[in-house]
Symmetry: C2
Subunit: 407 residues, 2 copies
């Protein structure tokens, strides 16, 4: 007799995080789990006795297919970090007592490196108290900054949305016969994987972006301005991709450079424009060129109408693989993707010790960033397979249909 | 023997403006036009002898199908306004001389109300000098602010993109268990049609946006803040749609209210945040709530991967109808759409005197805006048919493919 299962979603949502939830749900159900609970708002929901019986929410095949196309975390999310075990045993006792009441033997947490810390702490505590509950991490983040795994589910769909949207912005940005400069700001405060995805826009039918700036490399603002001046004086329009997290040499973010901006809120915090807005304003004022700052904002993580089928499938698979490993006795581990072939692209799942993954950030290798403010072909070849194939939206009355969220 | 044809695109681009270009091209070709020229960058290109023979650019069926899916103006655009005829006859003589050299008998201009001014001026001048060249306007604008026509091609696709994206932003915005406020800024400086489209997000699977603010109605910032405070104190998250052009009672735009902002560029111009950013900052600082401003920016006018098939078809049809009318002897007129049935939705084309359309803005009727900061069902029923059906992108190597622009 298989014990009960509980699963939660945590951290920033993605377009495919619900496919991982389905991977856990369907695999656990197929393998005989009696009850599969979903924590609402992650571990915080569990602490507040907020959970659902997933079989009551995901009932039919159409529910499953709609959930695959529903962005953001179906079960809700949280940004809650568990305290250190030492000195906070009562928090852990409370959690384990609640798991006991529900008869939970398998605990799955879908999230990024912060969320993997939850799995680390809970499995460490389980070892300490000789609990037989299995704790498994299921990777998820658009940022692709998780260690050990080849890439993270969620990244491929965000990369596809970014590349497709940047292609469209390039067409829009190059339409006039005088120089205009469009700066596209892309998420990833510390890791440039998403911003690098803008490079995929370039192809037979698209000029691509002119420059790409990742946070891994110091942003030389004088060199940037000189380059923009040179190209625009020659009469050319440009589209430039920048990470929200680009920094200048002294370590300040570009969006912190705005000595002109003096928007101070009621708490005395400076309200800052984004990196793209700052650069667009600077170019506009110093070079007198028409500029536009475009932020891809939350759309890049919730555009479920434009996902990668490869990503959806892998997101499902890491959820299913976590269940399989847990049911076979593993705990304190995270499912990772291992690329076993580049061409043709093939990826398998493995599991890895959570201690090597929690709280670690994987950045873009510096040798994949070129001196002429672009990225190498290696980086493009690394990302390209992850955006392949589509899962067409289910269109109802003109709009993509999602699964109702009615908790 | 049919004379030669020339066609141009002008003003801000849309996702379907190239379908109107195709409507002109294909209909003119089918009806026996010998040469069909495309002005590059509108009338400005003609003045600079920048034009192409369209048959050399659009050669195959696949070219046609790719062009339907290519956003922004394939021929480039301009924001050039012709001067008054009186006192500037030499400009008009120059244009007509160039048309003469090319043997042009039919001139088509695809654009919004500014662009229709070009048709008005040219057809007025033609009458003055007894020219037999026909000048016809083909309507285009995401803003839907053109007079006489039921709606404008370009609007339906932008509305579909906005509604679909707002649905996704709502899922993303309601994911946490503490109140967060997302403010989505939508284009339309003076007309609220696009912002109103956010109302289409609401349905069986979506809570919809909480409030919608159009530029047609004075924005009461105190009432707004009181309402946000009340809902957020109750613990609810919110998604709010605002037009970029909302104004307070004294006539200032909301984005001009930022007395805190002192970003002054080299020319002494105040650099301003958008309406959404201003309101998000205000809520964040005064109410201490987590906020996010999302600007749909140029994406709402160039998202060719998410167009309305109804819109694409109508965009093609207005181009074709302009050719038919011109070949039958009309000039100084604009093709307009006339809704002959609401349910089932049916629209036909007619032509109308350009003098009633050029430089006139059609706004949202005040009776379609409710006192509780939303829009009426009439407004939703007006927009809904325009977003119906899809034109699926042609996906190549993971991304939507466009027609090469290689002039």
């Amino acid at each position: 007799m298989i014990g009960n299962v509980i699963v939660g979603q945590s951290g920033g949502p993605t377009s495919v995080i619900n496919s991982s939830l389905l991977g856990v749900f369907k695999t656990a159900k197929d393998r005989g789990a009696k009850k599969i609970y979903g924590m609402l708002h992650g571990i915080k929901g569990l602490l507040d006795d907020q959970y659902v019986d997933l079989a009551e929410k995901i009932k039919t095949d159409i529910d499953i297919d709609l959930l695959k196309r529903t962005p953001s975390s179906y079960l809700g999310s949280c940004r809650y970090k568990l305290p250190e075990i030492e000195g906070n045993e009562e928090t852990y006792q409370k959690i384990f007592a609640k798991l006991d009441v529900l008869g939970i033997k398998y605990f799955f947490y879908i999230g990024g490196n912060d969320s993997m810390d939850t799995i680390k702490q809970l499995s460490d505590y389980a070892a300490l108290v000789h609990s037989d509950i299995s704790f498994m991490g299921v990777p998820k983040t658009i940022d692709n900054d998780l260690a050990v795994t080849d890439h993270t589910p969620g990244f491929g769909s965000a990369a596809k949305y970014i590349a497709a949207t940047v292609k469209e912005i390039i067409r829009d940005g190059l339409v006039y016969d005088y120089p205009t400069i469009t700066i596209v700001e892309i998420m990833g405060r510390n890791a440039g994987w998403l911003t690098a995805s803008a490079a995929l826009a370039k192809g037979e039918d698209c000029e691509g972006v002119d420059m790409i700036y990742l946070p891994e490399k110091v942003f030389d603002i004088d060199k940037f301005m000189a380059r923009v001046r040179k190209i625009s004086v020659a009469g050319h329009s440009m589209v430039i991709a920048v990470s929200e997290g680009i920094k200048v040499e002294d370590g300040r973010y570009v969006f912190e450079l705005s000595d002109h901006v003096e928007f101070v809120d009621a708490f005395g915090h400076k309200q800052l424009a984004g990196s793209a807005k700052f650069l667009a304003n600077k170019i506009g004022s110093e070079l007198g060129i028409k500029t536009r700052a475009v932020e891809l904002s939350t759309m890049q993580r919730c555009a479920a109408h434009m996902t990668s089928r490869t990503d959806i499938t892998e997101a499902f698979n890491v959820g299913g693989a976590a269940v399989k490993a847990a049911f076979e006795g593993e705990s304190g581990r995270v499912v990772v993707l291992k690329r076993i072939s580049d061409d043709p692209y093939m990826c398998i799942t493995e599991t890895h010790d959570v201690h090597d993954i929690a709280n670690v950030e994987k950045k873009v290798p510096l040798e994949w960033i070129t001196d002429d403010d672009y990225v190498t072909d290696e980086l493009i070849h690394y990302i390209r397979p992850l955006i392949q194939a589509e899962l067409s939206p289910i269109m109802v009355d003109g709009l993509p249909r999602h699964l109702n969220v009615n908790f």
